[in-house]
């Protein structure tokens, strides 16, 4: 082994820490680590000194103390005797509700607008372009404030819905009337019909009961679950399962004979009829709001703050989604639809078999990041005093307890968790649909 020599061993010199490729990156990382740790300890040290100077501690014990304030929109039980933790939970639910409803409206609007923008119809595509440019280029805060102001300043007072006997005699109509006869938009909120269930009792008796009736609810400790809703979900889930079997059957028939049986009416029947029968058996009916005295009784009152926030966020985000949808469809080259046409596929089939499966891969990742943006933007609830996570935990709780550090960190942590969950889902999706390339 005379030919093979070990590489001459350099004696270690200090300069090698910087110039030798083997050590250079380690040296830099050690320096960065030291600087980072120094910075961190500086922050922690400052914080400790500041807390001590103010005579405060760093602990989360306040979360188990009585909150003592009311929240005007509660999806689950809450009173001012509940804890701060519970208040934060209510706030989180409100944040998620606004985000969820906003995302649904924004998606529907955005897809419609994006597709219409591609339409060959000159006037429609121009109108959609104007919509997109106007909503994209103005701060979302403006849309929230404007929606809230319009809702609270242009809507009638509840008493304007009243027709006094004198007015009736004079043949006058009341100043305001309900939308479709069932929805009352007043300056205090929008009152919509409330679904109620009733089994084996006269309807009036059920209506007098503040509970929703029917099968009732079960208390899980943290929150209550409506058994009616649960039953509906189970039945509907069963319907979806049966429907998927019908589709599978249709696929099998097509594979065997080449002819796809017509199934849409079967699907429709399976999806609708069982649920409808269940709802009928549970005695579903809607309690329409009624004017009694100076306010509406019955029905569900939706806060204007919620409506304004959700609507404004949806309209704003829809403009971005429209652009994503448009870009996604345009990203599929003309050649694809030409090739499908040349093979004899009709435009509808071309869309569902060739264009959409490809466009969705392009559309869905940015779409999800728009959902993420919308969710984060619900924190603008502060502009209309909607009691979201920031309004409860980062608002009243923070002010009452003075636990600024704890409340803010907790709030950021919650938002961060939501974001990370959504982006993890997005990564999974991306990996699943990635096109195979060489």
């Amino acid at each position: 082994m005379a030919f093979v020599q070990d590489a001459p061993k350099d004696s270690f010199r200090l300069g090698m820490l910087i110039y030798d490729t083997r050590y250079r990156s380690i040296t830099i990382q050690v320096v960065v680590l030291i600087l980072f740790l120094l910075f961190l300890s500086w922050l922690v040290n400052n914080t400790a000194q500041n807390l001590a100077a103010k005579g405060r501690t760093f602990d989360f014990g306040f979360l188990w103390m009585r909150a003592g304030y009311d929240i005007n929109q509660r999806l689950v039980d809450y009173t001012n005797d509940s804890t701060h933790m519970r208040a934060a939970f209510i706030g989180l639910l409100n944040t998620l509700l606004a985000a969820f409803v906003g995302c649904i409206i924004a998606t529907i609007l955005g897809v419609v607008i994006g597709v219409l923008r591609l339409s060959k119809n000159w006037i429609v595509s121009r109108l959609m372009t104007v919509y997109v440019e106007i909503f994209r280029n103005v701060p979302v805060l403006l849309w929230i404030l404007l929606a809230a102001t319009i809702l609270s300043e242009t809507t009638p007072q509840p008493r304007d819905f009243r027709q006094t006997p004198e007015m009736e005699q004079a043949g006058e109509e009341p100043k305001a009337s309900m939308l479709f006869g069932i929805i009352a938009v007043t300056n205090r909120g929008t009152v919509i019909p409330e679904p109620k269930f009733c089994i084996g009792k006269p309807q009036a008796e059920c209506d007098a009961d503040p509970n929703e009736g029917g099968l009732g609810v079960i208390d899980l400790g943290i929150f209550k679950v409506s058994l009616n809703l649960l039953a509906l979900l189970v039945v509907f889930g069963g319907s979806i399962f049966v429907n998927s079997r019908i589709t599978k059957q249709a696929n099998a028939t097509q594979e065997a004979t080449g002819i796809r049986p017509v199934t849409w009416w079967k699907s429709l029947a399976v999806l609708i009829i069982p649920s409808a029968i269940l709802l009928w058996a549970l005695g579903l009916h809607f309690v329409v709001p009624e004017l009694k005295g100076f306010n509406f009784v019955g029905g569900i009152s939706v806060l204007h703050s919620f409506t304004a926030l959700t609507l404004a966020l949806a309209l704003y985000t829809a403009a971005f989604i429209a652009e994503i949808v448009r870009a996604g469809i345009m990203a599929i080259s003309r050649g694809q639809s030409e090739a499908a046409a040349a093979l004899g596929l009709r435009p509808g089939r071309t869309m569902s078999l060739v264009i959409l499966p490809q466009a969705l891969r392009v559309i869905i990742p940015p779409l999800i990041s728009q959902y993420l943006n919308l969710t984060k933007n619900t924190s603008l609830a502060i502009a209309v005093s909607y009691m979201d996570l920031r309004g409860t935990l980062g608002g009243i709780t923070l002010n009452q307890t003075g636990k600024e550090l704890e409340c803010m960190l907790l709030m950021m942590g919650i938002y961060l968790t939501i974001s990370l969950i959504i982006s993890a889902l997005m990564n999974l999706f991306n990996r699943a649909v990635k096109l195979k390339e060489r």
Partner: protein, 435 residues
């Protein structure tokens, strides 16, 4: 050869116009508006929508009132002129309060200072936006932040000059150390020198200099700033500071060094995972905990820092996309030419990556500028919520809402739309050398 007859054309055919029913406005309308039942329905709906909007907006705009002292006076004038049921816009509010929308509560007799700063800003930005202008103008651009600070906040001119000297110190240290010690080390050294200068020399030196040659103008407090002045100050500062920071973060995220990479990823994901409002609250509530006891600095500055960090994380992601889109060959070619890491980044990689990222960067900037309105929630007077709330709280203008929002919204629209058009123009211009 029975299947065809050989053929040679003797006279070429001249182009003809399409048949009469296929040109002119009628053909255009049939093609674009009424090509099928679905299309016709859409057209009718579109016309209906436009008509409905026009019917509501045009009379309202036609009945504008520019001279009045209160909303009720406005309404009285409208009722008197156009009948009791007429609706009209009351732009008199804008006429009376426009200065608050523009300057906030900045002292009236000093309006020339922000105005001058704004005009100088246009001069400073011009060479950045248009490559055809002389490169020497960049020197003014570099000096502009100091001039702007002095004009807006006032005080002694020596303060910005001494700060500038700190940057000079940094540049000097960097220049002499870089060839020997490499970019990161010498940058650190320069930063250290500058930090020492700003922390220990800054205040005594500028006070002393001001004592010798007093060059002071009146101080203006941060809480007097407001309106679009505030939006533009925060927006422009954060935009110009977030780009270099975003580049560094993007490079950090692409780095081979695990520690640098994970720190960058953590920072970016944290910032992108929380709403901007929580960061602004951090600026107003938490920064006092994190800084040494007794230190208290300007709220606008605190907000600018947080907004910059916020924007930098988004820009880093955009640039990372641009870096990923570069072909590997570019990196290899740079290595093969013997360029070191920073040279390769500066001369080869970044110019291309930035070019690819222009649309994304500009839309981040637009987002950032729109987000400057959120400073209203930490008590600053942004044009949308802050100033409008002040106007609407005035007994004279109580109940007015369309006009202030339309006014502020239009200005935002013009600026943001302008930015997006500029980016499209730039993209087209730079496309020449890409296929």
């Amino acid at each position: 050869m029975t299947e065809f007859t050989p053929f040679v054309r003797k006279d070429m055919l001249e182009p003809r116009d399409p048949p009469g029913n296929q040109q002119g406005p009628i053909a255009w309308a049939r093609e674009n508006l009424f090509s099928g039942p679905m299309n016709t329905v859409l057209t009718l709906l579109g016309i209906l929508a436009v008509g409905w909007l026009a019917l509501h907006i045009i009379p309202w705009l036609m009945h504008s009132v520019w001279n009045a002292n209160s909303l009720s006076e406005c309404r009285a004038i409208i009722a008197q002129t156009w009948g009791p049921d007429a609706t009209g816009a009351c732009w008199a509010m804008v006429r009376e309060r426009w200065h608050q929308y523009v300057f906030g509560f900045y002292p009236m007799d000093l309006y020339w200072r922000p105005t001058l700063a704004f005009l100088l800003m246009l001069v400073a930005i011009a060479p950045v936006l248009y490559q055809s202008l002389p490169r020497k103008m960049m020197w003014f651009t570099a000096l502009y932040p100091f001039i702007c600070y002095w004009l807006l906040w006032g005080g002694t001119l020596w303060a910005p000059i001494v700060v500038l000297a700190g940057f000079g110190l940094f540049a000097l240290a960097f220049r002499f150390a870089a060839p020997k010690l490499g970019v990161p080390v010498s940058a650190g050294l320069g930063l250290l020198a500058a930090a020492v200068w700003w922390l220990f020399v800054q205040t005594p030196l500028s006070t002393a200099l001001n004592g010798i040659i007093p060059l002071s103008i009146r101080d203006v407090d941060s809480d007097q700033f407001g309106g679009f002045l505030l939006s533009i100050v925060i927006g422009i500062t954060a935009i110009s500071a977030s780009l270099p920071m975003g580049i560094l973060l993007a490079l950090g995220r692409k780095s081979d060094m695990l520690l640098v990479k994970s720190l960058s990823v953590m920072f970016i994901e944290f910032i992108r995972g929380v709403p901007l409002i929580t960061l602004l609250f951090t600026a107003s509530l938490l920064l006092q905990y994190f800084l040494p006891p007794g230190s208290n600095f300007d709220i606008i500055l605190r907000v600018i820092i947080l907004v910059t960090l916020f924007a930098a994380a988004y820009i880093a992601e955009v640039i990372r996309g641009g870096l990923a889109a570069l072909p590997r060959g570019q990196y290899e070619a740079a290595d093969a030419l013997g360029l070191d890491y920073w040279q390769a980044q500066r001369l080869i990689i970044m110019p291309q990556a930035l070019k690819i990222s222009i649309p994304g960067i500009v839309s981040s900037f637009i987002g950032l500028f729109k987000d400057t309105t959120l400073v209203a929630f930490v008590g600053l007077m942004d044009p949308l919520k802050g100033i409008t709330a002040v106007v609407r709280a005035d007994i004279n203008w109580k109940g007015i809402y369309w006009e202030p929002y339309i006014f502020a919204g239009t200005i935002f629209f013009l600026i943001c739309f302008g930015m997006s058009r500029y980016s499209m123009w730039l993209e087209r211009k730079l496309k020449t050398d890409h296929r």
